[in-house]
Symmetry: C2
Subunit: 288 residues, 2 copies
């Protein structure tokens, strides 16, 4: 099976062998090899534009809202007053777009290792790159791991919107990174990291979850549905240094009107609560 | 893109244009064209054996448990005492395997239009076809629609485990079918039908949901994650003739020990409750 043939892009990766999602492509809008990875933006027949890094679909216009809303609002709504937020990765701008919607948020820093992803997004993915236009946001081009090691006691929420644990994001799944995040949090702070899917990579998800459980007094695994991700879903590994945090019960409960005003299409308090109800096989593997 | 090439099976269908899931195939175990459809069983590299009808994946050994458990236990656990159950479709035997686990269930009828599916399953999918060996089960080979029109006031739960609304299953999404199901229920009875996914077919899902809402005093849409189905999930359209039914709160709450004894790997009371928490875009479309 080839990754680009007869007008279809096929996602092939050793992280999920033997299975592949393909999208019919109308036009290849962008392709380059940056210092860190291969970057491609394509216009698909059915899913709008798609950002593809090293052959793995990062987001499509049609379903990205689920991921961006959930990785942002799950941690934000578990914090009583998230004023200062750090986004690690998130070079497409979609998470920044969501985070600034939360009324408590005053200041957002985003650290992306690969400036070329931001440029490609600004040029080809305006629905997501709109996040970069917000005055609350400051962008640094740097390795997230290194950035984190210089900052302490600062952030109310840290969101790691990374690619998978191959290529430039490997260090963001290590114990040391979780320790650095813990130390970079302000009192009561919360972290939320892209955490893979129990359906495809249960043992590596469980390994990262174990690290989070050992580094933070409270940890949880939530997930959301994203049709164009492998297995159709993606999980979030979350930790809090506030022992009283109950991840499955938001402390900030938005009304329907507030959700409408923020143009949220996926997240709601009931969706928040449901995100932590894991299938038995996953619950046993992740919570023991 | 071809549906079988270089050792990969690709699912291509007009119900979800522009996107295709492919599975690497080790061996084609069975292929025939019955009176109703094309039937194929393949052994895949990563997902065990897969049953494919008219080019659409019906189930794979690795993730079928989610679908079979949820389409069975969601309606069964909303009924206080489900003794007599009807399964429409379900020719692989997986739903029967799950339904008979429920301790209240005394008698199960299964009506499958295509005997060749049952034969192929018995020959190649023993993990699912084991459902046919249970003495509580009676099998009829007949069109489910016709079968239903002869039966009234009999069943506590009716589960429609059909293929998608193309081919032999079209009539199982019509208003008349929902009316026939309603009339075939005993007092307080509940129906649960395979209902597609809001991500791929929102308008047709909403249409079937509207029929269910008009035919039954209480209706709800739940869903579960199935990685090898289009969009990685599948929904269930449920109706009850008992006005007091609250689908998101099981009336039969099994303990962890009971769930273990029934070998349930997906379903739990908390997963049950979460299955009805719909993303905002879907909730608005299905409940208005």
């Amino acid at each position: 099976m080839d990754s680009m043939k007869k007008g279809w892009f096929s996602e092939l990766n050793d992280l999920w062998p033997g299975v592949s999602l393909s999208l019919e492509v109308k036009e290849i809008l962008h392709t380059e090899t940056s210092r860190f990875q291969n970057i491609m933006v394509v216009d698909t027949k059915s899913h709008g534009r798609a950002l593809i890094l090293d052959g793995i679909i990062q987001c499509t216009q049609n379903d990205e809202f689920s991921y961006q809303e959930m990785i942002s609002f799950l941690p934000l709504c578990c914090h009583p007053n998230p004023r200062k937020v750090l986004i690690v990765g998130g070079g497409d701008g979609g998470v920044a777009r969501e985070v600034v919607k939360h009324p408590s948020v005053e200041q957002v820093e985003l650290v992306e290792i690969d400036e070329a992803v931001i440029s490609a997004s600004k040029r080809h993915l305006p629905d997501m790159a709109v996040g970069f236009a917000n005055p609350k946001l400051t962008v640094s081009i740097e390795d997230g791991f290194k950035f984190m090691s210089r900052r302490t006691g600062e952030f109310d929420v840290i969101i790691t919107d990374s690619s998978d644990p191959v290529g430039p994001a490997v260090s963001l799944f290590e114990r040391k990174y979780f320790e650095l995040m813990r130390d970079a949090l302000s009192p009561g702070g919360i972290v939320c990291s892209q955490g893979g899917t129990p359906w495809a990579n249960l043992s590596s998800v469980a390994e990262t979850m174990k690290i989070c459980q050992q580094v933070f007094p409270v940890a949880a695994f939530g997930y959301t549905s994203v049709p164009t991700y492998p297995t159709g879903q993606i999980g979030f590994i979350m930790g809090s240094i506030n022992k009283a945090t109950e991840f499955n019960e938001p402390v900030r409960v938005f009304s329907e009107d507030e959700l409408d005003n923020m143009k949220l299409r996926y997240y709601s308090p009931e969706v928040h609560r449901a995100a932590f109800a894991l299938p038995r096989f996953a619950k046993k593997a992740l919570y023991g």
